[in-house]
C-alpha cells in the first residue's frame, strides 16, 4: 500500500490545522457562511437534510486494517456508529458536528487519510478497479497511476476551481469494473504492439441529468505521459468549459458541443505545445510508486485447496457464497472475497463500526492487511487463500456479513436519497430494501442470475441508475414520489445508457413493476445462461413495455 512520505504527511497535517482555524473563525463569527462554505466543501463537509455530512476520501478504494479501524472508531466516537460507503469508494458520516470535524480530520490524518477534494469543483477522489492487483484478467495494477494522479491533482493551483467537479477512474483490465466510460476521464491500461503498457483514454462520460458515454480520444498513451496528457485535457476543459450554467458545465457538455474530434485535436495540440518534459514521469518514479503496491508475497498454493473443496462439497450455503462472492485471483490457490454490504432488506453500503472492525480483523488475519471498497458499495478482501475462506465465511456469517448476493438482484446500488440528501427528490434506500426483501438471496435470486439494479433519488444520478440493467430514478411530482424505470444500462466495457420504459410508478407500485420486468425476462430468455442484459439487448424494450403498461397496467402516475 502507498505510505505517506514526509511531504504528504506535512501537507495533510497542515490542512487539518488550516481547517481547525477556519472552523474556529466560523464559530466565532469572523467568517460568515458564504465565506466559510468553500472551505468546508474543500474538506468534504456538506450540510445535508438532518445534519452535516463528512465525505472521507478512500483513494482508489484501498484501505489497511488500521485505517478501517480508524473509520470505525471515528464513526463510533463522533457519529452514530455507522457509515455509508459510496459509489466513489468513499465513506460518508451522516451526523458529525461542525465543532468536531477538525478533531475527526486529525484522527484521520494519523492513519494517512483525509477528506480533501471530496467536494467542490476540483478533481475528486480518483477511483480504480476494486480488484486491482489481484484480478486474474489484469494487465497492470491501476492504483499506482491513480496515486500519481492523486498527488498531481491535490490542491493543483490551476485546477482547484474548474467549471464543475471532475472525476477520473483507472482500470487495469479489459473487463471494466471501474465504470470508466461514465467518468470525465477514464484511463484503461492497455499494451501496444511492442508490449509496453500505456492507456486508452476515454473522455466526457458522465451521468447526472445529461448522461453521456465517454469518447475514446487516444488508443495508446505512454504511461510516462499520464500527467502531461491529463493536464492537457483538464486545461482545455478549464479554459473552454461553460461557467454560465452549472448544468452545462461538465466536460461531457464541452465535448458534446465542441465535437469529440475538435476536442481531441485541441487536447493533442495542448499536449504537444506544453509537453516540454516537465510533467514526463521518470521511470524511476513510476517504479517507486509501483513498489508501494507490490502484491503480497503469495506463494501459489497446491492445486487442490482441500479445506475449501471439502466445505464446498458439503455445505450448500457455502457453495452459494463461493459462487457469488468469490472471484478468481491471479495466483492459483487464492481468491478475491467480496463482502456484501447489501444484507437482505438492509441499507446498501452501510456498515456499522462493529462490522468495519470485523472486516479489519479478517483482513489482518487472512487478507494481508488489505481491504477494498467497491464502487458498487461492497467491501473486498483481495488476497485470500482459498483454504482460509471457510473460516472467513463462518466469521462473516456470525456477524451478519455473509450475504451471498454479489452481482445478483439484491446487490443494489442506492444513493442516500431523500432520507439524508438535501438535493434528493425521492427516497431510494427503502425502495432498494423492498426489492431486496421481495427477491432475497435464495433460490429465486439464483434463478434470476446476474442483474444489476441501481437507484437514484434525483436526476443527479449518484445511484448510477442510467447504467443499471434496471435503473430506477426517484422524482417528485405534485408532492408525491414517482419512480421512472430504465432498462438495458451497463457500466462495463460495453457501456450503455438505459432506456426509459414509459410513465413512472408510485412508491407503492415500483417494486411490483420491477417484478413484472424480472418475470418478463424469465419468460423470454433463451435459457438460464442468457442473463438479463443479454436478453434485453436481444429483444429490446417492447415485451417489457407491454408487460408493464398493457397486460398489467401497473403504471399509476
Amino acid at each position: 500500500m502507498y505510505r505517506y512520505d514526509e511531504f504528504d504527511a506535512a501537507f495533510v497535517k497542515d490542512r487539518v490545522s488550516q481547517f481547525r482555524d477556519q472552523v474556529e473563525r466560523r464559530l466565532s463569527g469572523e467568517l460568515n457562511e458564504d465565506q466559510f462554505r468553500i472551505h468546508r466543501l474543500m474538506n468534504g463537509l456538506y450540510l445535508q437534510l438532518h445534519a452535516y455530512m463528512l465525505r472521507i476520501a478512500i483513494p482508489y478504494g484501498t484501505l489497511s486494517s488500521r485505517q478501517m479501524r480508524k473509520l470505525a472508531d471515528v464513526a463510533r466516537r463522533y457519529d452514530k456508529g455507522y457509515g455509508h460507503f459510496t459509489t466513489r469508494q468513499n465513506l460518508q458520516l451522516n451526523w458529525p458536528a461542525l465543532k468536531d470535524t477538525p478533531d475527526i480530520l486529525a484522527e484521520l490524518a494519523s492513519v494517512e487519510m483525509h477528506a480533501i477534494q471530496t467536494s467542490g469543483n476540483c478533481i475528486r477522489n480518483v477511483t480504480a478497479d476494486h480488484f486491482a492487483g489481484a484480478a486474474a484478467d489484469e494487465i497492470d495494477d491501476p492504483r499506482p497511476y491513480a496515486e500519481i494522479l492523486r498527488q498531481w491533482s491535490s490542491i493543483h493551483p490551476e485546477f482547484s476551481f474548474l467549471p464543475r467537479k471532475f472525476k477520473i477512474a483507472v482500470t487495469g483490465a479489459a473487463r471494466d469494473r471501474a465504470a470508466i466510460q461514465v467518468h470525465d476521464i477514464g484511463y484503461q491500461i492497455v499494451r501496444n504492439r511492442a508490449g509496453e503498457p500505456g492507456f486508452a483514454v476515454w473522455v466526457g462520460g458522465g451521468q447526472g441529468r445529461t448522461p453521456m458515454i465517454a469518447k475514446k480520444i487516444r488508443d495508446f498513451l505512454p504511461v510516462a505521459d499520464l500527467l502531461a496528457y491529463s493536464e492537457a485535457i483538464v486545461r482545455v476543459y478549464n479554459l473552454e468549459g461553460r461557467r454560465d450554467n452549472k448544468y452545462k458545465a461538465r466536460i461531457k457538455i464541452l465535448l458534446h458541443e465542441k465535437g469529440a474530434e475538435p476536442f481531441r485535436v485541441a487536447v493533442e495540440e495542448e499536449f504537444a505545445a506544453r509537453n516540454d518534459g516537465a510533467l514526463r514521469l521518470p521511470q524511476a518514479e513510476i517504479d517507486r510508486i509501483h513498489a508501494y503496491f507490490a502484491p503480497p508475497a503469495l506463494k501459489a498454493r497446491l492445486a487442490k485447496p482441500e479445506l475449501f473443496d471439502a466445505r464446498r462439497n458439503a455445505d450448500g450455503k457455502f457453495r452459494a457464497f463461493v459462487e457469488t462472492n468469490i472471484a478468481q485471483h491471479k495466483i492459483d490457490g487464492f481468491g478475491i472475497v467480496t463482502i456484501s454490504l447489501k444484507p437482505i432488506g438492509g441499507i446498501p453500503g452501510d456498515a456499522t463500526s462493529e462490522q468495519m472492525d470485523i472486516v479489519a480483523d479478517l483482513a489482518e488475519r487472512y487478507g494481508h492487511d488489505e481491504i477494498r471498497v467497491s464502487h458498487e458499495q461492497n467491501l473486498v478482501l483481495p488476497h485470500v487463500a482459498l483454504d482460509d475462506i471457510p473460516a472467513i465465511y463462518d466469521f462473516l456469517a456470525k456477524h451478519g456479513l455473509a450475504t451471498s448476493n454479489i452481482g445478483q438482484i439484491s446487490d443494489i446500488i442506492a444513493c442516500p436519497g431523500l432520507d439524508y440528501c438535501s438535493l434528493a427528490t425521492a427516497r431510494s434506500i427503502p425502495v432498494a430494501q423492498r426489492i431486496s426483501d421481495r427477491f432475497g438471496d435464495g433460490e429465486r435470486a439464483h434463478e434470476i442470475g446476474d442483474l444489476k439494479i441501481k437507484i437514484s433519488g434525483c436526476i443527479n444520478a449518484c445511484g448510477h441508475h442510467h447504467v443499471g440493467h434496471i435503473g430506477i430514478l426517484g422524482l417528485e411530482r405534485k408532492g408525491v414520489e414517482t419512480y421512472q424505470i430504465t432498462l438495458g444500462g451497463s457500466a462495463d466495457e460495453n457501456c450503455t445508457l438505459g432506456d426509459i420504459t414509459g410513465p413512472g410508478f408510485s412508491y407503492e407500485a415500483v417494486v411490483d413493476a420491477v417484478e413484472t420486468v424480472v418475470d418478463t425476462y424469465l419468460g423470454l430468455r433463451t435459457d438460464k445462461s442468457e442473463d438479463f442484459l443479454t436478453a434485453y439487448r436481444r429483444v429490446g424494450m417492447a415485451p417489457f413495455k407491454a408487460a408493464l403498461y398493457e397486460k398489467n397496467p401497473g403504471a399509476d402516475i
Binding site: 463569527g29 450540510l47 445534519a51 461542525l98 432520507d419 417528485e476 408532492g479 408525491v480
Partner: protein, 97 residues
C-alpha cells in the same frame, strides 16, 4: 396554510425550529405561524441569529397543526423534521419516542 420557521444549527447542523424568539429541536414545540405577515416577521427576527452565527439557512415550511401535534406537509419536510425513514432510531423521531 400555517407555517413554521426553521434553520440548521451552525455548531452541529441539527435542524431547529423557531419558537418565540429562540430555537427548539422538536417540531411540536415550534411556534406555528398562521399568517403571511407573521411568517415574514418571524423570518426576519430569526435571520438575526444567522448574523449572530447561531444558525444557517433560515426558511419557513408548511405544517398541519392539531391538538398540540405539528406535522410537516411535504414528505421532504416530514423527513427533515423527523429523521431518516430507514433509521427510526436516529434523528428527532428517536428523541420524540
Amino acid at each position: 396554510m400555517p407555517q413554521v420557521v426553521t434553520a440548521s444549527r451552525l455548531v452541529d447542523g441539527i435542524v431547529v425550529f423557531w419558537s418565540h424568539g429562540g430555537w427548539v429541536e422538536l417540531l411540536d414545540q415550534a411556534q406555528v405561524l398562521q399568517t403571511k405577515d407573521d411568517v415574514e416577521a418571524n423570518i426576519k427576527s430569526a435571520q438575526a441569529d444567522v448574523a449572530a452565527n447561531l444558525v444557517v439557512d433560515v426558511f419557513a415550511f408548511e405544517v398541519k397543526a392539531a391538538a398540540g401535534h405539528v406535522e410537516a406537509v411535504t414528505l421532504r419536510d416530514r423527513i427533515r423534521t423527523a429523521g431518516p425513514t430507514v433509521h427510526r432510531d436516529h434523528g428527532k423521531q428517536a428523541v420524540a419516542r
